[in-house]
Subunit: 311 residues, 2 copies
């Protein structure tokens, strides 16, 4: 049994990760400000501290715990929203990471796993991005994620093994269907279920590389459990596959009858297309994603439809 | 006559830049928190707002002005100090840039010039770094400078011409001899004048690329005055010449008799050696540095010695 801090366990990825860790018999503490997450998402058995990860008073509440690892998953996660309040974005995505790393340094926490993002690469539409591809962030969100990675590299010099996982488009059951600014698949799916009409901000030819949330959670766990020599490392968490906006919506329209699709203006900082090499995570993290896009999407749609029918 | 905001005009580079702009008949406003600068450095005729550039209340005091350009020079400038208080470093070096860029966006300021740093490159001891060299920041200070550059790239999309000048080791008359944590040449010179003993933190073989402050100020001015098409660009402000720690101290010892040199442990995040290509600034900014290291250093030593004699 181990003890973990999982920030953001009222949110999508954090809640699934925390539930998994608790199920396996570990102790889990979380911090979440409920800005987009819901308290009901925090798994039973998880110690919940409500607050901002960038508040020193909140971090001070961790003094009494001792963690084997910190999974820093919390953070404003929409590139679009980062344009509305860049200062909040800097605090939630960068200052928070800094304070948590400093906490780890002061309290001897040996492992730190971070939810970084494919957004740090910016646009590479012609190219399969690998971990050594150039990072030219296009949104405030992406600037903050990149700065966090750079802070981790420095803190790894203080004896903390720091792993930055560059998540590509994470999707699946648990994703917030009320938030229409985050999560391409969940946004379109929510529109289809609610209105039978999908309004797309940007081109149908844009593409993403989707990863199912359970596979992402496995990557987080492997980042702590699989022994490695490197004190700092970054990994793409991706499926090495281009999925276009059009393909997603065709799938949704087949499953949810009568849904129409309309294309409009894009959002600032949106990447046109990106997909990622995942060989490094497969080799060094022994990561082996199990759920392809179609399987994951059908599972997600089944869940949403059965949930909608219940109400 | 134009109107400028120069942040940090109580500090070294900011004060020389503000004085030059005022001398040429322009209006200058400054913000400085006097954390390392001195109010007496603020040139006569410069409107002085005392405060932190990362405080929204301070930025709000700029509402009544209209600027042709902003020179953002203020900021904690020591890699070493950034390890003592990473949070302050993030605020002063990153949040401040974000708030000022946002001010420019809201008030239609068309040009933004930023004091970035060669520190953003990290270690490239074998290589002459150009603007396209990889940036792997080794200090909190450098992480913040790089994040600021990335913010500028985004704001350039809002119609602000943003120029990041990556200063190499700036030195010269006006440098603060009381601050023994910032400025390699000034630190050694201060020790020689005060104690006739130089204690070096790190190897004598480390090297830097020195640029005289008047040349740096000229680069700032050219970044605003020389027409360019690019809305975002970065330039090394360097002399393309390796100067070793040993060479600096030999020079100082020749001029200040009886000075001894001792070598000790290095500081965290210190780059071993770096020097920079400057062809891009020469071509696109029409920048032509005038003062070589020996000329500048002798001028600086002359000034310090005459100043010391006066006291």
């Amino acid at each position: 049994m181990a003890s973990y801090l999982v920030t953001g366990a009222a949110g999508f990825i954090g809640s699934v990760l925390a539930a998994r860790l608790i199920k396996e018999g570990n102790k889990v503490v979380t911090i979440d400000n409920l800005s987009t997450g819901k308290e009901s998402n925090v798994p039973a058995g998880c110690v919940f501290i409500r607050g901002n990860t960038y508040d020193t008073d909140v971090i001070a509440q961790l003094e009494k715990y001792s963690f084997d690892a910190v999974f820093h998953i919390a953070g404003q996660s929409s590139g679009e929203v980062s344009f509305e309040n860049p200062e909040y974005d800097l605090k939630t995505n960068t200052l928070a990471t800094l304070l948590l790393l400093d906490y780890c340094k002061k309290h001897g926490v040996k492992k730190f796993v971070y939810a970084s993002s494919m957004a740090t690469y910016g646009d590479h539409p012609e190219e399969l991005v690998s971990e050594t591809s150039e990072q030219i962030p296009k949104s405030f969100y992406a600037v903050g994620k990149l700065a966090s990675e750079n802070y981790m590299r420095i803190y790894s010099g203080f004896g903390i093994q720091c792993t930055a996982l560059r998540f590509f488009n994470v999707f699946g059951i648990g994703q917030n269907l009320d938030n229409l600014k985050q999560g391409m698949a969940s946004i379109y799916l929510a529109m289809a279920v609610n209105d039978r009409h999908i309004f797309v901000k940007g081109s149908k030819d844009r593409f993403r590389d989707f990863v199912y949330v359970d596979d992402v959670v496995q990557a987080c766990i492997n980042a702590v459990d699989v022994p490695r020599d490197e004190m700092f490392d970054v990994f793409n968490i991706s499926n090495k596959r281009k999925i276009t906006v059009e393909y997603i919506n065709e799938m949704i329209c087949r499953r949810i009858e009568g849904t129409t699709v309309e294309y409009g203006q894009g959002t600032p900082g949106d990447q046109f297309g990106i997909y990622g090499e995942n060989q490094k995570a497969k080799e060094k993290l022994k990561w082996n994603p199990q759920i392809d896009f179609e399987t994951g999407m059908n599972r997600f749609i089944d869940f949403v439809l059965s949930d909608a029918n219940r109400h």
